[in-house]
Subunit: 625 residues, 2 copies
């Protein structure tokens, strides 16, 4: 087996050398000293569709983050600590140097460019090429400022050189082939036309004439359309532009059925993906004054440059840097969306509860299970529910020490669940019109005192956040601290946010809200967020307890608007791991009320044996007297 | 009495009309349609020294906030809700219109300017004059952006027209007459020379060549100098500039003694206040590239424009907008400063404790007291302590309904303390090298159940914040939420921050830290902050419980740096108002430990009768079984 592996790697190396050689020919035509190929594409998704995976194609490195810089003779891959190991495995360091960001003597992209500039002959600048549609406006503005005096010339090339190399080497995968489907207003609660009215109201309020959109979640939400260009997130490659009197959707029109075309035709003009730049230019090139909204974090420098070019040509274009209003609208769910989310998360709660019962019984019967068995079981239960579409992310099922790996996405058929070990199960699904995400941590057999203490601490953190009322205007950053406070008292903490926004049959992570240290966006009525405090100790194991919640307005006793959380997730917590004596009266009340709701909600759809199990698993807990 | 009052107001009106008429003559010379006179001066202090109180002098309105706009025929005073009433009392609305910001049909400054512009003849712009040294860079940049297309021309006039009118009307008060005194390193822990080394290290790190400083607290701290130009804050009117190899202090050199001049001479060049602009211009006009640091919130547009002018003349000046590093250095107290703060707050704790005992005894003896008696008594005790310099702010002593007025600064000799009423006493002093601030809320006679409930809630908020450990990097915004959480659960809140930074023999409110919703600056070791949650119900009364604390590093069990709070204030809480059963075990432990420390610290410096009283007031509390 080893010999053929070596050959595969050899083939791979030859192929990568050839690709880089071809790229360097293209670079020479543009007189470039180096060329930038980032991990991201034009739409800054966390997952990049196959057709846009330029860095993976040319370097062989498949990590979700890590940018490539190709010089005339050298090339550098810049990876953070998550990818040190994977980069070593996938990249031939004879061809591409790995720069491990955060380690000493490992230069960043900017430092590497500065070093190149220093070694260049005096009074010549090195030419640094990049596709501006793969760089954010913010990043680009930083470069402009940073490199103004650094001997580095920014060379924007509005065609992607990696794509050109790929095209000559093989058939470039079609950008968008799979069909696009539409969701009826009975599932979305609002037609695309109605959403456009609201978007234009927001634009009018901010005096905006043109709103370019490149975020695929925003586009899918706005037009009530879905696709399957990326695993687990039902989005499709596209651009959109909304103006005061028109709306454009840019994708492959052939993937849109005649029926959908007719549905859209009154409100939306459907155009080929490649028409985006020219249409944007037309939209801003009016005789009257035009104000264009750009979100500098999420709009590409390509879009920015197109507008800048027009601004130079005519003086009446104003660029307004502000968050895209669609992001906030998408986050505040309407009543129909909330019902869909309740329905989807009810299905997922049943599936996870069935998994927990299965797990308990298997362990009690002395059967040996693997991480992979757990993954397969929960996914099987998800698929049994109606309207199942896909997982919403790769199932995390980590046993023992693996439970301490926050994003452990490779449950193994070789790793068995051993008595006394923790099992962390974080999973979710896409159901038609609803997205789910929840995590439970279980004990295999009997727990240790320390497992109970840490689990109880994380549970208190969860309850403190979930039970908290807060005034309108409270930010995710503030709630994050309320959740962590109990861990901090023991000098414990977790390295991820307390919660993230969740889309409606869209991405399982969405902005602009959520509960984490850096989120200054206020939580608002109708937002859906996870609450998922944790504790991780490498080698020992990890605990995470995650439910989804809707932010809802509470009956107020005064002039202030007060919000609280209503659960979407109904799954019992692991009673073996709870030290009831550490819960305050109100914390215990919350837990017992929650468990009573779990029984009340799920019992009507479970068989007698499962109900009997659930009634024990979620029975009221009481303090020792 | 009424007749002479009427005459005084008449005189005042005549005088204000005359002042405005003179100002309009000046305005005409500059062809202005309107002229802006803000409440603030060149240094953006909360209190403005008499010589800089231009808006008060010309309008008769003495509020700490509220800007004036003078047009050709009309004038407008823009006040927020704190000053609606005071403005009505002090301003003749026949001469100056009052715009009550926040009320409908009351225009803001910008709206008023826009309305003026709309009523101007087509294609002419109205000319809006202002002294750029009384406007922040941030404000000015907003105006430039806002007015670019609004028919309003910004006319910066680098001499203050109100000062010119004042000069012709009367002798302008000398800008800086009172002597400046210096603090020895035995009190400050660091010489000015040592501080300059650290400032230059911070400048070098950010590659800054020139640092202009206009904040008077920063200047006083940096040079270990103090003055008395403003009540309660020992600062003096000045500017400073630090460069890589020089430091300039601009004030009235005549107020600096020969001895201090000699002390400073090795490190600091002393120049007249008026030399600031020309010296700044020299500092930035070097043949080499010069990077200047400006804090856009705290630097004036005047400073910004001086640099911009030079930037236009030569292309090698770069303006870096960032917070001034001196602000953070001043906030992180050194060990000597911490000792000084401990000493000062120990004195203030004794004075407040003596006041509480006096109050209890007077009430028990059936003596009728007024708010003014309480204020006089606590201030008397402050003055008896060694090295007393002044109060650190106006004493707040509010009885009954007045306790709900957060900044009630006018304790009345007519308002008596009635049985069953709350008394809120917020006060502080300046001792040589230490500043104090604390608040206690007491009950006169016996409390109601609701007073006990609200007091206990506020006490829990105080304890939750004061007892919290938190990792390095935690912001004031996050701790603010931890304090408020218990109030929020009852849908209660308070309209001020949970805590503010405190200077060392400087301003009782200082940046950049503190504990409040908007503070994104992390708390760091050595910072001093108040913790002062409250609850206020108009008519019913108010509660505030305030101690000062030092942020200190805790012994850490892991790789994270953990911080906690060490009290500077030792004053018993009001045991009659505590419902012990609502405190958790750890909260009660904190309170009993704190009270034990109060006795331990204060007993050695109290007489036997007071010790006996204190031992009862601060005795350990226990839960009913």
């Amino acid at each position: 087996m080893i010999a053929s592996n070596v050959k595969a790697i050899q083939n791979n190396q030859d192929s990568i050398s050839a690709k880089l050689a071809n790229l360097r020919v293209m670079m020479a035509k543009h007189d470039l000293d180096c060329y930038f190929i980032p991990a991201v594409d034009e739409h800054f998704n966390l997952s990049v569709p196959a057709a846009k995976q330029r860095r993976a194609w040319i370097s062989g490195f498949t990590g979700s983050a890590g940018d490539l810089l190709v010089g005339k003779d050298s090339a550098w891959l810049f990876v953070d600590s998550r990818y040190y190991e994977q980069a070593e495995l996938q990249v031939d360091t004879g061809i591409i140097q790995i720069s491990k960001l955060g380690l000493e003597e490992n230069l960043s992209l900017i430092e590497t460019l500065e070093k190149l500039a220093e070694s260049a002959p005096k009074s010549t600048k090195i030419r640094f090429g990049f596709d501006p549609f793969t760089v954010s406006t913010e990043q680009y503005q930083k470069w402009v400022k940073k490199f103004a005096t650094a001997g580095i010339e920014l060379v924007s090339i509005r065609e992607n050189l990696a794509d050109k190399v790929r095209q000559t080497a093989e058939t470039l995968p079609a950008i968008d082939e799979s069909p696009i489907f539409s969701l009826p207003a009975s599932l979305t609660g609002e037609t695309a036309a109605q959403k456009l009215v609201r978007v234009r109201e927001a634009m009018a309020k901010a005096n905006i004439d043109v709103l370019p959109i490149s975020n695929l979640n925003q586009i899918a939400w706005l037009f009530n359309l879905r696709g399957s260009d990326i695993p687990n997130i039902p989005i499709f490659i596209s651009y959109a532009i909304v103006t005061t009197d028109a709306a454009f959707l840019f994708t492959n029109p052939e993937r849109v059925s005649l029926e959908i075309k007719q549905e859209l035709s009154a409100d939306v003009t459907l155009l080929p993906y490649t028409d985006y730049p020219s249409t944007l230019v037309s939209c801003v090139s009016l005789p009257k004054k035009v104000r264009v909204l750009l979100d500098s974090k999420h709009s590409t420098a390509g879009t920015y440059q197109l507008i800048l070019d027009q601004q130079k040509a005519k003086n009446n274009i104003e660029i307004v840097f502000d968050p895209n209003p669609v992001e906030g609208m998408k986050a505040r769910k309407n009543p129909v969306e909330i019902e869909q989310m309740k329905s989807a998360n009810f299905k997922a709660s049943r599936a996870k509860t069935l998994t927990l019962m299965w797990l308990t019984e298997q362990v009690e019967n002395g059967n040996v299970l693997t991480e992979f068995d757990v993954k397969e079981t929960v996914e099987g239960f998800y698929q049994q529910e109606t309207d199942f579409q896909s997982l919403s992310f790769r199932t995390i099922a980590g046993a023992g020490a693996n439970s301490s790996i926050v994003h452990y996405g490779t449950p193994s058929p070789e790793i068995t669940l051993k008595p006394g070990e923790l099992l962390l199960l974080d999973s979710g699904s896409q159901y038609l019109a609803g997205t789910t995400d929840d995590t439970r941590t279980m004990i295999v057999g009997e727990p240790t005192a320390q497992q109970i203490e840490h689990y109880t601490t994380v549970l208190i953190a969860h309850i403190n956040c979930a039970a908290q009322q807060f005034p309108k205007g409270t930010t995710g950053s503030q709630l994050d601290a309320i959740a962590r406070a109990v861990l901090w008292q023991q000098q414990l903490d977790y390295g991820h946010g307390t919660g993230h926004g969740v889309g409606v049959f869209l991405a399982v992570h969405e902005g602009p809200g959520g509960i984490s240290k850096s989120v200054q966006y206020p939580l608002e009525s109708g937002m859906v967020t996870s609450i998922e405090p944790g504790y991780y100790e490498p080698g020992w194991g990890g605990i995470r307890l995650e439910n989804l919640y809707i932010v809802k307005e509470m009956p107020s006793k005064n002039a202030t608007v007060w919000y609280g959380f209503e659960p979407l997730t109904y799954i019992p917590f692991e009673r073996k791991l709870i030290n009831v004596d550490r819960l305050s009266k109100t914390q215990l009340q919350w837990l017992n009320n929650y468990h009573a709701s779990v029984i009340e909600k799920l019992a009507p759809v479970l068989d007698a044996a499962t109900i009997a199990w659930l009634k024990k698993a979620a029975a009221a807990l009481g303090k020792a007297l």
